[in-house]
């Protein structure tokens, strides 16, 4: 299909419009329970954003990194300190700065990717995870010398207006996520994304075409960490409403890795699908536990079962569809189209025009 606007085809624009109408008009009109905003939609948007970060470095550039939560922590605590110490920067300014600070860490810990790959790189990125969390934990300055261990996040104020209700925070997250998702798509579909994927698929050939491995990898790590940093700041300020290093431990990094892989490596919408699945599945499982078994199953057992299922799904996807749910969805659509070609709108139109 020919692009009609920038790199977007007609179908993309329709999809985008549907998403926007759904998220801006329909959801706020029909969903009134706070629970949906505070426990599902807000964390979903934040984690999807972090997963896009993971996608850029892992799905697009093919670098096995496992430290998303560390960069999220860097972003979250940078945000806290910027609002505290540089109030003139404002919310949006602080958010961008937090992302840039996380990006600096991304560059530093992305450097080993120039030498190593695969599990070797994974171990190197684990260093960033443990080091960043430790640094925040041990240097009181980052936490403004708060001794309780958990600091309350400041209220979000944009242009003098407070954004403190769940709905308002949802809109903040939605706006940031939408803008950054569009930018990510532009990069992924443009020359930037082609360089990433060239490095992923065959680095030596990419280099022979003039793609600099150094620049491309470091760039991917920086952008990835930027996305994670912004996501971490939103995660702390809109979802947790508090800051503690423990919230960004290795488990969260694994969670984001799962979102990225199960959702579909190398796709932006996979990030949203994966994040939704990993977030919603436990909710569903708990609901089954409560309603079908009436609480007869212990909550810890339910969370263990959830872990078994996530792990099992990971294995199954690796065996049958390493490109995750996004690809699975594509395949289903493809099968549907070949099975019922008449449903395809384009064929329908052309057959109609032939008749007349």
């Amino acid at each position: 299909m020919k692009p009609v606007f920038m790199t977007y085809t007609k179908k993309d624009i329709i999809n985008l419009a549907i998403c926007m109408v759904l998220s801006v008009l329909i959801i706020p009109t029909f969903i009134k329970t706070e629970y949906w905003y505070t426990s599902i939609l807000i964390p979903w948007l934040c984690l999807a954003l972090a997963t896009i970060g993971q996608q850029i470095v892992m799905g697009y550039t093919g670098q096995l990194a496992l430290g998303a939560a560390g960069f999220m922590a860097a972003g979250a605590f940078a945000m806290f300190n910027l609002i505290l110490r540089v109030p003139d920067l404002g919310f949006v300014g602080s958010l961008i700065m937090s992302g840039l600070i996380a990006a600096a860490f991304g560059i530093l810990f992305g450097l080993p990717s120039l030498k190593v790959r695969g599990i070797y790189l994974m171990v190197a990125t684990l260093a960033s995870q443990f080091f960043i969390i430790w640094m925040i934990d041990k240097f009181g300055w980052f936490k403004n010398y708060d001794s309780s261990g958990i600091i309350t996040a400041q209220d979000i104020v944009i242009l003098g207006k407070p954004f403190t209700t769940p709905l308002a925070m949802y809109f903040v997250c939605l706006a940031v996520t939408t803008v950054l998702t569009l930018l990510a798509m532009n990069m992924a579909r443009g020359s930037t994304g082609r360089n990433w994927m060239a490095v992923r698929d065959m680095d030596i050939a990419a280099e022979s075409m003039g793609v600099s491995l150094l620049r491309t990898k470091v760039q991917a790590f920086a952008i990835s960490a930027f996305y994670c940093g912004v996501a971490g700041a939103l995660f702390a300020f809109c979802y947790l409403k508090s800051l503690e290093p423990v919230a960004f431990d290795i488990k969260l990094s694994f969670k984001i890795l799962f979102m990225c892989i199960l959702g579909g490596l190398g796709t932006i919408n996979g990030a949203f699908i994966g994040a939704a699945f990993i977030l919603l599945f436990p909710v569903l499982l708990n609901a089954i536990g409560n309603n079908v078994f009436h609480g007869a199953i212990d909550a810890t057992i339910i969370s263990s079962i959830e872990q078994v299922i996530f792990g099992g799904l990971m294995i199954i996807f690796m065996i049958y569809e390493p490109l995750g749910m996004a690809k699975l969805w594509e395949n289903i659509k493809q099968k549907w189209k070949t099975k019922f070609p008449s449903i395809n709108l384009k064929n329908l139109k052309s057959s109609l025009s032939k008749k007349s």
Partner: protein
């Protein structure tokens, strides 16, 4: 001066012996990597799974120590069997990274299963060996070294010698080395690939159980063991993924370095640097000697 030196020795020896525990986890990793070129990320989960089952057999079913150990070992053989059949065999032709991801999934499955079956609370594991200084050494050498550390060191030594003999002098070992060299060629001359895989995974499972017992006796049998076992990764990078002596030396280096750093440099930064020091050490190795101390140099052919 003498006291300072003694204190340093104490820290060093304590670190070295604690390092053998990392070596034990790393050993399981190396076994599988040697035989199938698979990075088994679930080795840490296997440690947790096996020792939790062992505790469960003893504490929930009152099965005597030795029998419970044998049962847990058998359970690990079953885990190996299932892994070979349901995870590795379907992924025979998949890329390295795909298999690595699958083993991360496998780790999740094992952790979840263990907790679903045996609960999430911390269990005490009493091996009858105290985690306190041995009086004899304390009196004669003026060094305070834990009996558990010494036991771990001895157990690690026995396992290494055992595995070494197995590899060097048995038919199975020969087959394994052939498979490690070229799986396709080995199977074409009639070496039963499946049996060897099964054997290796079982051996790795038993090694995990032993490592788990050592760690469990020190820190309690709990989920945190999985994170501790992650430190086997920097050990492997330092020692080289395919070398059994590498796993041992790497473990010793990590154990010693993290203890010495923690004691002498940690206090300036508020401590707990052992949480990341091994990983940063690993990064330095990656930058200057990516193949590790004992690994084979990787030449990429174009």
């Amino acid at each position: 001066m003498v006291e300072e030196l003694l204190f340093f020795m104490e820290v060093l020896v304590g670190g070295l012996l604690a390092g053998t525990m990392y070596s034990l986890v790393a050993l399981g990793f190396v076994l599988i990597f040697k035989a199938s070129a698979t990075f088994n990320f679930s080795q840490g989960a296997m440690v947790f799974f096996s020792v939790l089952a062992f505790c469960g057999f003893m504490q929930d079913f009152n099965i005597p120590f030795v029998l419970a150990f044998i049962l847990a070992a058998l359970l690990m053989v079953v885990v190996g069997l299932c892994t070979e059949r349901f995870v590795l065999r379907p992924l025979m032709n998949a890329s390295e990274d795909t298999v690595l991801m699958a083993t991360i999934g496998l780790g999740y499955v094992l952790e979840g299963l263990a907790q679903a079956a045996w609960g999430v609370e911390v269990r005490r594991l009493d091996l009858g060996i105290g985690d306190f200084p041995v009086p004899w050494i304390a009196d004669n050498l003026k060094l305070f070294i834990s009996a558990l550390d010494i036991t771990a060191g001895v157990v690690a030594a026995i396992m290494i010698i055992g595995l070494f003999l197995l590899f060097k002098y048995t038919k199975i070992g020969l087959g394994l080395r052939a498979v490690a060299d070229d799986a396709g060629a080995a199977s074409s001359i009639g070496i039963p690939l499946k049996h060897i895989m099964l054997l290796v995974w079982s051996a790795a499972g038993v090694v995990a159980l032993v490592a788990g017992c050592m760690w469990g006796a020190r820190a309690g049998v709990q989920f945190a063991l999985v994170d501790l076992a992650l430190k086997a990764l920097p050990v492997l990078i330092i020692g080289g993924f395919s070398s059994i002596p590498g796993a041992i030396i790497g473990g010793l280096i990590i154990g010693a370095v993290e203890k010495v750093l923690e004691v002498y440099i940690g206090p300036f930064f508020g401590g707990a640097i052992e949480g990341w020091a091994p990983y940063v050490l690993a990064i330095f190795f990656l930058l200057y000697r990516p193949e590790g101390l004992f690994g084979e140099k990787i030449i990429r052919r174009v």
